[in-house]
């Protein structure tokens, strides 16, 4: 008994300090993960869940829309993440040699869309893509004699339109991180390269790129996780349509769970999504971090 008293006197404060996060973790992370796993084997009803084994998984893998959603999510990720990373890095490298004041101006300008909500950005772009000449994009293309396009309303352009939008809104935080990392590269390395008459490209390839790898890895992992979960712009702009052309996994989960109330099926799908995201993150760490000294 005394031992416990002593323990409590020594460490009581410490456990009290972390109590709230730990309780929230148990209730809102650990329990839900386990509950979702159980739910994915059930025909779920709040009062009377019924165990149905792998039926949800079978149904999911036989569903054409599920595979379409997987493909769309894959296309969206491949079409946005690498190109956006390239744009972010390119902009950061162009900004870096400028004076502090110019740097601050560009940082602020590129960061501005980041403080605005996804809802606002989706609504503005929804309008840019308006199928008539009221839309900014159609008006602009009209100057060159191009006819109005139903950007979001056609299955061959809708997913691309949502991808295209991301090329102009998501660079702020990445640019700032890259600028900080660029500032941390010792100047002497470049001076040494200059003595050897190294070309700009070889300086980038042999000094800049390797030393930026931790930042690149961080941005790659976070942006892939986010792009696997793309939902809001799709919900607000296309509702997954037309003809499932913009239905992503996250959107499908939303629909199955909160429109059709198929909680068991949605739980199975969300488990697959979670599994893919974790695998992808681990793969990137393995693949990218082998030669990062940090």
């Amino acid at each position: 008994m005394d031992k416990w008293k002593q323990f409590f006197r020594d460490y009581g404060w410490c456990y009290l300090f972390i109590a709230v996060p730990v309780i929230l973790f148990l209730v809102f992370t650990l329990y839900p993960v386990l509950a979702a796993l159980v739910m994915s084997f059930q025909k779920y009803h709040v009062l009377n869940p019924k165990w149905i084994g792998f039926d949800n998984y079978r149904m999911m893998f036989q569903d054409e829309v599920f595979w379409k959603a997987m493909w769309n999510t894959f296309v969206f990720t491949v079409g946005t993440v690498p190109l956006n990373l390239f744009i972010t890095l390119g902009l950061a490298i162009l900004i870096f040699p400028r004076s502090t004041r110019t740097q601050t101006f560009f940082k602020a300008a590129f960061y501005l869309p980041t403080v605005m909500s996804g809802v606002t950005l989706a609504l503005v772009w929804f309008w840019i893509y308006d199928p008539t000449e009221s839309g900014l994009l159609n008006m602009f293309l009209g100057l060159f004699g191009i006819e109005n396009v139903m950007w979001l309303g056609k299955s061959n352009s809708s997913l691309f339109s949502i991808m295209f939008m991301t090329y102009f809104i998501n660079h702020g935080a990445g640019i700032i991180l890259y600028l900080a990392a660029l500032g941390g590269i010792p100047k002497s390395l470049y001076e040494a390269a200059d003595i050897d008459h190294a070309s700009e490209w070889s300086k980038f390839k042999n000094i800049t790129w390797p030393l930026l790898k931790p930042t690149t890895l961080y941005l790659l992992v976070t942006s892939i996780i986010l792009s696997f979960q793309v939902f809001m712009s799709i919900y607000l702009m296309t509702q997954g349509g037309p003809n499932f052309a913009t239905t992503t996994i996250a959107y499908l989960i939303y629909e199955h769970a909160f429109v059709y109330y198929k909680f068991g099926l949605a739980a199975a799908e969300s488990f697959v999504l979670g599994f893919i995201i974790i695998l992808a993150s681990i793969a990137q760490f393995k693949f990218m971090s082998s030669d990062v000294e940090y």
């Binding site: 972390i18 839900p32 403080v115 000449e133 969300s270 974790i278």
Partner: protein
């Protein structure tokens, strides 16, 4: 001997000049690219503001104007009279405020405990918490929704909107990183003076952690203000919606009212834009704290 040296110097002067002009060309090109990208990033927002001050009524087609030909606040009046926008703004302010305060308190407490206190299980608990950052929101969403709405019966309440966000692991990690850099001698001195652990936290740690706390508060406030999905799921009545959710429902209810939609978008974004410009320094420096170092 002397002749050769002169030739050598002349050549290097020519090379230098060539290099200098190359630099100028590069500089011009880089400014052209940067300006173009800034314009494309900023134009949608500029256009949103300009259009919100035009009274275009409910016409589905109209010509976009680059420079406003008239000034009217009719769209704003319409947005505020047609919707519960005032209530939505109050809700957003309240929810974001409470979540920010709770994150400041609990993330600082836990961050301090993980950074500066020693107790059995400290590292294990910290790493378990950190590892859960990998679990995507979708995987836990459905059980959390069922728990909050069906089990706790909290649908359409402020508590439901706030509960899962009261303290995030990301914020604990940020505070731990920040507080590890504080000198331990101050804490030891206070302990020798007989301060209780909580008093040390309140009187010694918090005052010197202000820059870290400021960054945490700003980013938490902005991300909560912009949060869409969770409040969208757990609110039903118009009076409980946050501004983001309200704006989205307005979009689906008034499909032809582009003017009102742009006015609403400005209203939803304006507080964050003002916050960004008045606290720009914290925004631009804050991103690099805790993001890359890990």
């Amino acid at each position: 001997m002397a002749e050769i040296r002169t030739a050598d110097t002349q050549m290097s002067t020519a090379a230098l000049q060539k290099r200098e002009s190359k630099r100028t060309v590069w500089r011009v090109i880089s400014y052209v690219i940067l300006s173009f990208w800034v314009l494309v990033t900023i134009i949608p927002m500029y256009w949103m503001v300009v259009t919100s001050f035009r009274d275009i009524g409910f016409s589905a087609t109209f010509t976009p104007e680059w420079f406003p030909s008239s000034f009217s606040i009719a769209t704003y009046i319409r947005f505020f009279t047609k919707t519960d926008a005032v209530q939505w703004l109050i809700n957003s302010l309240f929810v974001s405020g409470v979540i920010t305060l709770s994150n400041v308190l609990f993330a600082s407490l836990a961050g301090y405990a993980f950074a500066k206190l020693r107790f059995p299980g400290r590292n294990m608990i910290f790493w378990v918490l950190l590892a859960t950052m990998m679990i995507p929101a979708q995987a836990t969403l459905i059980p959390i929704y069922i728990m909050v709405v069906n089990v706790f019966n909290l649908a359409d309440t402020y508590i439901a909107v706030m509960l899962p966000f009261l303290v995030t692991v990301g914020n604990i990690f940020l505070m731990k990183q920040y507080m590890s850099t504080l000198p331990s001698t101050l804490i030891d001195a206070a302990r020798i003076d007989g301060c209780s652990e909580f008093k040390i936290f309140r009187k010694v740690i918090m005052p010197i952690s202000k820059p870290g706390v400021a960054v945490l508060a700003i980013f938490t406030f902005v991300s909560t203000w912009n949060e869409f999905f969770w409040p969208f799921l757990v609110t039903n009545s118009s009076g409980m919606r946050t501004i983001q959710v309200g704006l989205a429902t307005f979009k689906f209810a008034e499909t032809v009212d582009y003017g009102g939609l742009m006015a609403g978008s400005v209203i939803a974004a304006l507080p964050m834009i003002v916050l960004f410009f008045s606290l720009q320094r914290y925004f631009l420096q804050g991103i690099t704290i805790g993001a890359v170092k890990g």
